[in-house]
Every structure is written in structure tokens, then in C-alpha cells.
């Protein structure tokens, strides 16, 4: 009697289990969501920082996009770089066209000496708040506010304020070009540019759209939109719009002719070996030079007068 009772129980349970398993099997077949197994593999290769620098919500989003993409050239993990992308390409069996690595570049060189203070700000130390209150502590309404929102935004410790210049500086080695600082800057000063061979870069370190005389009065190292660099450039890489020059890094061939032509030293060239003629072009001396020299020579604010100090340099460069 007892044995029979146990048998019935066991059979009933087994039958219920079997039916449930069958239902589950059919349901899972019917409502199956197919996920490409390669997505998991690709995600495993990605750094997993979930920084959003690629433009997707985290590494999983990027992995999905990579698997879906026909051509990988437009997608780039800024943190993992070329190594990571070649691993991804191997998994997907596609070719990777190495996208040029980028780096954040600060487009303001109005340091304390070049840009005299016209007001004092003692409110909350945040660029976003300062920008909502007023244009800045100096007469330049486009320049760096110096409260360090970019520093706070960087997750890779790659950007730091230099207390001497009051401007942020980017560490080439640490910067992964995720673009967080670009978004954080209320003045739109930071730009992602090509990292360049041996980290060599040339850029116009100013975004002041004021007319030459006004810009010059506010900041001695401002771009005054004189257009000399554009005339000098043999590759047509420089355009002057709204009184400010811009170097297109896809066209620039790093000849450095514009650097010598700039009357206010607003064009910066870093990590280059020194030019045969005038000055070493290492970052620090290049930064310090305009602050030390121009105040004496460029006193008259009219743009016509700006031509004077550049003449000797032009001839030197030609030699």
C-alpha cells in the first residue's frame, strides 16, 4: 500500500515536471530572442570602462554596434585604441582601418600675464555657474574661465589646471579622447584633434570671435583674425571665420609656416624638434614666449601696428 502510494507520487511529480519542461521548451523556442554570440565576445575584449567616449551607452552598446556595423572605420574605442580595435576586428573577421587616435586640445592660451583681470569672481568654483553669471574675469568673453569643470569631468586624470597659467593642460599619455571635457566646457574651448605622429600637433590656441583690436586689448595672445597664417599655409588647411583662424588637422602637413607667421603667437606647435632658425618649439618655452615678449612690442592695440614685430621673424623664417 505504502509502496504504491510512493510510486504514484513519484510518477505524478515526474509527469508534471515533464509537462512543464515541454511547455518551457516550446515557449522558449517560440519567443526566442536571438543574440549574436559575438556581442559577448566583443564586449569581453573592450576595456569595460563604460565611459561612453565612443558615443554609445557603455561597452555593451558599443559591442552591439560593432557587430552590426558593416565597416568598422567609423567606430573607435578611444580607451582601448588600435590594439583593442584589431582584436575586435579579428573576432568579427573584418578588416580594421586604423582610425587616427585623437587627443583633447585646449584652445585658449590667455594666461595670467597675457590676459589682465578686469573683475574678480568669488562665487561657486564651477565654470558652468560662472558662465551663467558673467563672461569671465577678463575682458575676453570667449576664453577659459579657469574653474576646472574639465578637470572634474575627466575620468582618466588626464587634464590638470596649471596654477601658473590658470589654464588646463592635457596629458597626452593619459588622454583617451573620450570627449567628457569637451562636453563639460561651457565655453567650447576644448576640441578633439588628431594626436599626430610622435604627438606633434599644431593648432590655433584661441576661440575669440571679437574683431582684432578688441581681442588684442583683452588678451595679448589672442587670435586677431589677421589671416596671415591662412596666406602662409601652402596646403589651404587654415580658414579664418568670425575673426578667428582654424587649422583643419586633416589637411595640415605640419610644416609650421603658420606658427612663425602668427603675430600674437596664438598658433601653438608642440613636441616638435627645434626649428633651425629662431626658437625651440617645446611646449613650455612656446607658451612662455608670447607672455614675455609681446607686451613690450605690441603695445599699440591697432591691428596695423601688429605687423611690426612679425617682420623680423618672417625674414628669419625665410632664411
Amino acid at each position: 500500500m505504502d509502496v504504491q502510494f510512493i510510486l504514484i507520487t513519484v510518477c505524478a511529480l515526474a509527469a508534471t515536471g515533464l509537462i512543464a519542461a515541454l511547455i518551457l521548451y516550446f515557449v522558449s523556442q517560440k519567443f526566442k530572442v536571438y543574440e549574436d554570440p559575438r556581442i559577448g565576445q566583443v564586449e569581453g575584449v573592450l576595456p569595460g570602462a563604460n565611459c561612453g567616449g565612443c558615443g554609445f551607452p557603455g561597452c555593451h552598446g558599443m559591442a552591439e554596434a560593432l557587430v552590426k556595423a558593416e565597416d568598422l572605420s567609423k567606430l573607435m574605442c578611444p580607451v582601448g585604441g588600435a590594439d583593442c580595435m584589431s582584436k575586435v576586428a579579428a573576432i568579427l573577421g573584418k578588416e580594421v582601418t586604423a582610425a587616427a587616435p585623437k587627443v583633447a586640445v585646449v584652445r585658449c592660451n590667455g594666461n595670467c600675464a597675457a590676459r589682465p583681470k578686469t573683475a574678480n569672481y568669488d562665487g561657486a568654483r564651477s565654470c558652468a555657474i560662472a558662465a551663467a553669471h558673467f563672461a569671465g574675469e577678463t575682458a575676453c568673453s570667449y576664453g577659459c574661465l579657469g574653474c576646472g569643470d574639465c578637470v572634474a569631468a575627466c575620468k582618466f586624470d588626464a587634464i590638470k589646471m596649471n596654477p601658473e597659467t590658470g589654464l588646463p593642460e592635457v596629458d597626452d599619455e593619459k588622454c583617451v579622447a573620450c570627449g567628457a571635457c569637451v562636453k563639460a566646457c561651457p565655453k567650447n574651448i576644448i576640441e578633439l584633434r588628431n594626436k599626430g605622429v610622435k604627438n606633434r600637433r599644431i593648432w590655433v590656441s584661441c576661440v575669440n570671435k571679437d574683431k582684432g583690436a578688441v581681442a588684442m586689448k583683452a588678451c595679448k595672445s589672442a587670435c586677431i583674425g589677421c589671416g596671415k597664417c591662412a596666406k602662409e599655409c601652402p596646403f589651404g588647411a587654415i580658414t579664418v571665420e568670425n575673426n578667428v583662424a582654424y587649422i583643419d588637422y586633416t589637411k595640415c602637413k605640419m610644416c609650421r609656416k603658420c606658427v612663425a607667421a602668427c603675430p600674437t603667437k596664438a598658433i601653438h606647435a608642440i613636441n616638435f624638434p627645434p626649428l633651425p632658425a629662431p626658437k625651440p618649439a617645446e611646449q613650455k618655452p612656446a607658451d612662455a614666449a608670447p607672455a614675455g615678449q609681446t607686451p613690450l612690442e605690441n603695445k599699440p592695440a591697432a591691428p596695423a601696428a601688429d605687423a611690426q614685430p612679425t617682420k623680423p621673424q618672417d625674414t628669419k623664417a625665410a632664411e
Binding site: A119, D122, H133, G136
Partner: protein, 465 residues
Amino acid sequence: MKTFRIGGIHPHDEKLSAGSSIKVLPIPKEVKVPVSQHIGAPATPIVKVGDVVKTGQLIAQATGFVSANIHSPVSGTVKKIEDFVDGNGYRKPAIIITVQGDEWAEGIDTTTAIRREITLEPAEIIKKVQEMGIVGMGGATFPAHVKLSVPPGKKCEALIINGVECEPYLTSDHRLMLEKGQEVMIGVKILMKALGVGKAYIGIENNKKDAIENLQRLSTNFEGIEVVPLKLKYPQGGEKQLIDACIRRQVPSGKLPIDVGAVVQNVGTVYAIYEAVQKNKPLIERIVCVTGKPLREPSNFLVRIGTPVKELLDATGGLPETAAKVIGGGPMMGRAMVHTDVPVVKGTSGITVMDEKDAKRQPMQNCIRCAKCVSVCPMGLEPYLLSKLSMLNRLEDLRAENVMDCIECGSCSFTCPSSRPLLDYIRLGKGRVGAQLRAEAAAKKAAAEAEKAKAEAEKKETANA
């Protein structure tokens, strides 16, 4: 005595210029008239360089409903239409006029004779207010005709006139109520007619006893106007606080005063409306209070729009060496100016000069969770929480905590024992949430329009078939 029920602070009122009667400042040699002196779309200039303009002539036309006309405050020649550096350092377009004499445009009554009889019909009054470019003169500069145009389905039950001037230092409204009481009362009557209401309250804080007495005496001749003396408390001049203080109604979150049947106007605006309706005079001059402890003679001036602030300061004996900060507006809600070559605009209620000791902000320390900010917030918000959420950029949470209800009065920052810049951060978060809300509203509108267009196209198709 009445006051609003939630929160509030008691700063020293420091009404240094309360005893100084309104002086007419001479017309300057050159005026800069910004084309955006109000909330809403900037006006479009309708004059060219070289044009000769008369005082009171329209020089920039309103673009859209929420915008205001701008009239020439002087007679002379248009010298330039270009950008100037505003008090906050940013560039803004302005019409610059070189002054020649003072010849008024035709049809403007420049006499001081008082006209009591209101001949215009309500719709005509609102049209006149719009034509004359009247905006809220308390500092918010919201176009006045928008507030007077009650949306269909809603009814105005009480008109409330803001004579509170709760901002410390400022006295321009005080002097106006004292010296132009008759005109203000007629102005209130005009507004009552325009809105079709039988009851108006003029709320005045108790530190202006002479103004209360003056208007109370006059109100015996004007039916339906009641002067309400109010207990001294900041920010009583806030629209929602004043409604609560005068008629004990609270405006719900996200709603407007008209939803509780109230319309609020500043006394300065009322006076400007009197001049527009009875004298046909556009808003081209205003009373500006120039005050502060370092100044030799804090005074109240009647000045033309576009006069540089520098000249106002000179008229009080010049900007002294000890001055550390010049503020456009009062010390609570005003903004520090980067330089003083800034024109007076429609919303300039005062210029406050501060010395080093008063101007200095203390360094920020850690929040000690004393909840003083919570108890003083007149909107019943939690400022410590809002500012922290704003620092962390948690916009969804900010929205859930009703950040958009903040009236930016600064009571929280004022009271904080750790000198935390609470309002600065809240304002930042409010701006971001506001941008998000506007984007959502725009997307919704676009979607609705697309659907409408689709439905119409379908209708056409079926009609054709």
C-alpha cells in the same frame, strides 16, 4: 499684520535713500538702447544709422507676442547699431543714439497734469500697454500685456499691486508711492478696468509707513482699492508670496497666479501704465535707486533708458575708492557688474554699491545638516538637496524634487552657516532641467503637428478617392 506663511528671512533693510526725493537726472550726451530689455524675443530695430529720431518714437518693434516695443528715450541721430559689452561681459546688440536737444514725438502729453477719467475700453488699454512697450518694472521685465491678457476659461478675481520692495537697500518704489500716489491709484483703476475686477490690493511692507499712510489716505477716493500693510519679511515681493500674504491663496506647483484668480503687477509698472494710457507716453524713463554704504549721497533718480550707470554714480558723488562691488539691482537678487559703462534698461530698479566687507563671499564649508535652508525656503523646497543633486547632475531627481518651483530668491544662500553657494548650484540645475523640459515640449509639439499633417493628408486622399 499679514505676511506669507512659508519660510522667509529678515535681512537688514538698509533703506539708505528712503528720505531722498526723486531727482531728474540730466539727459546724457549719448544713450545705448539695448534691443533686448525684456524676457522673450528681442525687438527688431526699425531705424537705420543716420536716422533722426524724436523722444518717444518707436525704434525697435516687438517680435511676437512675448516681446516688447522699444522707443527712443531721447531725440537725436542714430549713431550706430552694434554690439556693446553688457554688465555681465557678454556682447548684446544696441541702438546707440547721439543726443540733440529734447524734442518729443507728437501726441505725447508731457505735462504733469493728472488725468483721472479713463476713456479707453479694456481691449484698448491692453493694446496701448503693448504698443508703449511696458514690461514688469520690478526687475523680471516680463511684458505687461501678456499678464493682462487673461486666457479664456480663466477669471481674474483680484488684482494685487506689488509695493513691497522687500529687496534690501532699494527705495525706488517707495519714493514713487510717496510722490506719485495719485498717478499710481489711477493706474490701479486702469488695470482694474482692463481686467474687469472690482477688487485691488496694494501690498506694502511696514518699513514704508509714510507710503502706506499716503496711499491709504488716497484710497478713500478710489473705490475697491485696499492698501494692505505687510510684516517685514523677504521675499515678500515674490509673486506667489505676495498672493499668499494678501489673499491667503497658494499657487500650486507649476501653475500661474491666474490659476488662483490673481494678477500681480509692480507699482512701477502701474505708474508706467498710467503714463502710457492717460498720457500716451511710452516707457522711456524710469526711477532708479542708486544706493550703498560707500556712496556719499544715496539717491533716487528719474533717468532716461540708455543712460550709462557711470553717470548715475557720478551724480551721487562718484564711485568711492572703498567700493568693491557694483550690483545691478539689489543685494539679494541683483547681479554684480563687470564695468559701469552699462546703460540703464527697463528692468534696472537700482544700483547697489558694496564695500569690501559686505561684498566678500566666505569660503564654502561642509554642509552640517542644520536644515536652516529648508526652514527659510519660501517655496517649501529642500535647497541643500537640490544643490547636491545639481552638483551630481542628477536631472531626473531634480525634477522630481520640483526644482522648477525655485524662485531664485537666495534666502537659502543667505542663511547658510557654512556659506555654501546653494542658489548658484540650484540655478544651474534649474537651467538644465528647464532646457530638458523645453526640448521635450518642442518634440511633443513637432510630433503632434506631424500627426495632424498626416491625418489631413489621409483625409484628402479619401476625399479624392
